[in-house]
Each structure stands twice: as C-alpha cells, then as structure tokens.
Symmetry: C2
C-alpha cells in the first residue's frame, strides 16, 4: 500500500470520509477517531457522561438481539429510527437515564458501529463528537501518533456533519504546525469548518442527514449533537468493548 | 441499495469522492463525469482540442503495452511520471502535438483511467476538467439526467483539486435550483469552491498532489490544468473508446 509522504518528524492527521475507504488510509500506528455526529458517537459520549460502565458496539442486529436475549440493555437503530423491542435508539437523550448507571450497554446503529467494525485492527480506536471535542483534541495533541479521523457517513456515502467535526479537530491540531501535518482530506475538512464555524446550522441546511432527522422530528437531537464539550470522557475500544480512556 | 430522496421533479447532482465509493453513488440513469484534474482528464481534453480522433483508456500497463506492440500511440503514467517506452505521459503539454492529429491514442494513468473503469456500466460517461468546464456545464444543464461527478482521487484517497472542480460544477448547476438538487458531497464541494474561487492556488497549497507535482518540476502543468475553457469539446465514452460528444 502506498503511504503519503509526511515531512520528517511530523505526525499526519488525515480524514477518511467513508468506512469503505478505511484500507486506503490505514497506517500501522495511527489513532483512529470514529465519528458519527448524527448520532451514534454523540450518543456514546452521552452514555458515558451519564455513567454507563461499558458499551459493546455490534454491527449486526442479530448479534444485538442475542445480547438482548441474554439480559443486556441494548440500543438499536436503523435509518434514524429506534427498533422495537430494544431499550434505546441512538438519540443522545435516551441515554440520559439512571437505567444505564454502572451497566454494560450494547449498541448497533446504521453507520457508527459499522465504522468501529472497519477500524477494529487499528492501533487504537477512540470515539469523537462535538460533545467531547476539547478533551479529545487535548489528548490527541499529547500522543506521538498519527491521527485518522474516520467519518462514518451514511451507508458508505459522505456526510457533511462528520466532515465538519473532522475539520474542527484538524483545525485545532494543525495550530501546532511543528508537530502535525494535514493530509488532503483533513485540509479540505479544515477549510470547510473554518467557513462554517460561525454558523454550522447554515452549512448543514440542505444536507441530507439533517433533513432526514428533521423529517423525523429530531431537531433537538441535531442541536444537542452540535453542542460543544458536555463531557471530558473519551471512550476507547478495548477488546471489543468501549470503556473510559484513563488520561 | 439505498437511494437518496430527491424532491420530486428535481435532478440530483452528487459528488463521489473516490472511485472505490462508486457503487454507493451509482444511479441507473446518471451521467457520470470523470474528473482527474492533475492530470489525466486535463490531458484528455487537451488531446481532443489538438485533434486526436479517439482515445482508448486502459487501466493496466500490460494492456497499454499490448496496444503499443500493435503500433498504437500510447500514453502511460504512474505516480506522476511518464513511463519509458511509451509515447506520452499525462502532461497536457505532451498532447499539444501534430503527432496525434486524426489518430487513436491509448492512455493509462495512475488514477483517471481507473475511475473510467469503475464507471464503465454507467448510463453515460463524459470527461470533465477546468479546460472544458463551461461547455460541460452548459451541456449537463440541458440533459434531463442526474449527474455524478466522479473524482479520481489518488489511489482511492481524496484529492483536493478534484473536489474543487466538482464544487465548481455543482456551483454552476445549482444556480438552476428549480431543476437541480445537490447531494451532501456536492454541497460540501460547492462550499469549498466558493471559499477557494478567488485564489485556488492558496487552497491547494499544502495539498499532497500539488506538492507531488511541484517536486517533479511540474508547476506549469498545475497552472495549465487550473485554467478555464481552453476547449468546447466534451469527450464521451462509447464502446470503450473516448470520442467527441456531438452536441
């Protein structure tokens, strides 16, 4: 596999715009940040803030059902809608509940858990959203590792809001230009974020995912998922389970 | 396959940011515009402007060699460099030659011909670059078809300059907002183009492909590939060969 040339001594920040492109962006020692702003990774960050102990991301609904049968709490969503017979969907609000305190919760969503699956062989996988952005950037900037910002997108297609967040992180990290070099997609994402930062709602106006969620009556979810720094927790994947990163 | 919802009566303009994502963006009746600004599609437009009769895009070098052995003129490039033993690389300047007048030229490049290959089952495939942009947009706006702007990228990764051109076309077509609706990636590309249009060189500063070509001493190629409307010809794929679209 061809690897981009990075000026000696600098770490590469790159954005992978679809889980399907993962292999083309994989680098052996990269930290992968999985991003699904609407709404899986926003929901996961919220669940940790509200006291969940662990989360088990699963790609398939059959696996989710099997966990449910074993007595686990399970969140399951497809196409923006919570699936009947499970405990949660992927609205962050549904995880603001005492029911999850100290528990292990299984989660399966349309896009986010597929991206986690794509990155399962990465050096390290963490979960990013606007809700934990400052903590995430601060931690990333202290690691001596390349960073891959992995956008979950929508069924392998590009999603505006995921690129926007990737751009926000690229923007922050690139301020330390002696340490970090941005790849092409990270540079593009940074420009998009810089254009949009005064009014992200305007940028997202007309984007398909926002329209899809608005049509489902989920405008409050959109607003919440775009709010900054509600938690300092960075969920990290360890042996197939998400847990709090100890920083 | 899931298909984006398009408001009734509107045509969808979408940008596919890597040939690897082609299947996720394929729509039965879309016109696919293949884009490889640095430099395959710029070179192809130039060759038609300088009188080539047909071009045969081939993905593999073995196939290119086989054509060469049969006496064809052949252009072959990998990683930005023309390959020894062939007649051309993919610099547009190399096709400004009487040698191609009325001839059929075979071409194989790192990315562009791979994108043409990915789109081979599309309803119609045409070639786009800044060099034929106005003619292309004018023609697209008269067809009653969805449009997929297919970025060749770099070895399945994102390329800034291809998204920039896709954004320029999305910007033009979306001015007719009763007819066209932009998908998410097209919307993102349009925003990027609008930010960059006063100074595309600045946007491309730091992008990997520009740095790669600059390192190869190809700054004049970059400048030429970003210049507008050198030709009114739209190359179109017919039975595996590129020819002039009759408009």
């Amino acid at each position: 596999m061809s690897v981009p040339v990075v000026p000696s001594g600098k770490l590469l920040v790159e954005v992978c715009l679809s889980p399907q492109l993962y292999a083309s962006y994989h680098r052996e020692h990269s930290i992968v940040v999985v991003i699904d702003i609407f709404r899986a990774t926003s929901a996961i960050c919220t669940a940790f803030q509200y006291g969940v102990d662990k989360m088990i991301p699963v790609a398939g609904l059959e696996e989710a059902s099997a966990y449910k049968a074993k007595g686990y709490l399970v969140g399951a969503e497809r196409n923006g809608v919570a699936i009947d017979g499970f405990d949660f969907g992927n609205s962050p609000f549904s995880y603001m509940s005492d029911a999850i305190l100290g528990k292990t919760v299984v989660i399966s969503t349309t896009n986010g858990t597929q991206a986690i699956e794509a990155a399962r062989h990465a050096h390290q996988v963490v979960i990013g959203s606007f809700l934990n952005m400052t903590a995430l950037c601060s931690w990333l900037s202290k690691q001596e590792k390349d960073v891959m910002l992995l956008c979950s997108g929508w069924k392998n297609r590009f999603s505006m809001e995921d690129m926007l967040f990737a751009g926000a992180v690229s923007d922050r990290l690139s301020r330390d230009e002696k340490r970090f070099k941005l790849g092409d997609a990270a540079l593009a994402a940074k420009y998009m974020f810089q254009t949009a930062q005064k009014n992200p709602y305007r940028l997202l106006h007309g984007s398909s995912h926002k329209e899809r969620l608005s049509a489902l009556g989920l405008k409050e979810d959109i607003k919440y998922c775009l709010s900054l720094d509600k938690t300092e927790i960075i969920p990290v994947l360890e042996n197939g389970k998400l847990t709090r990163l100890l920083v």
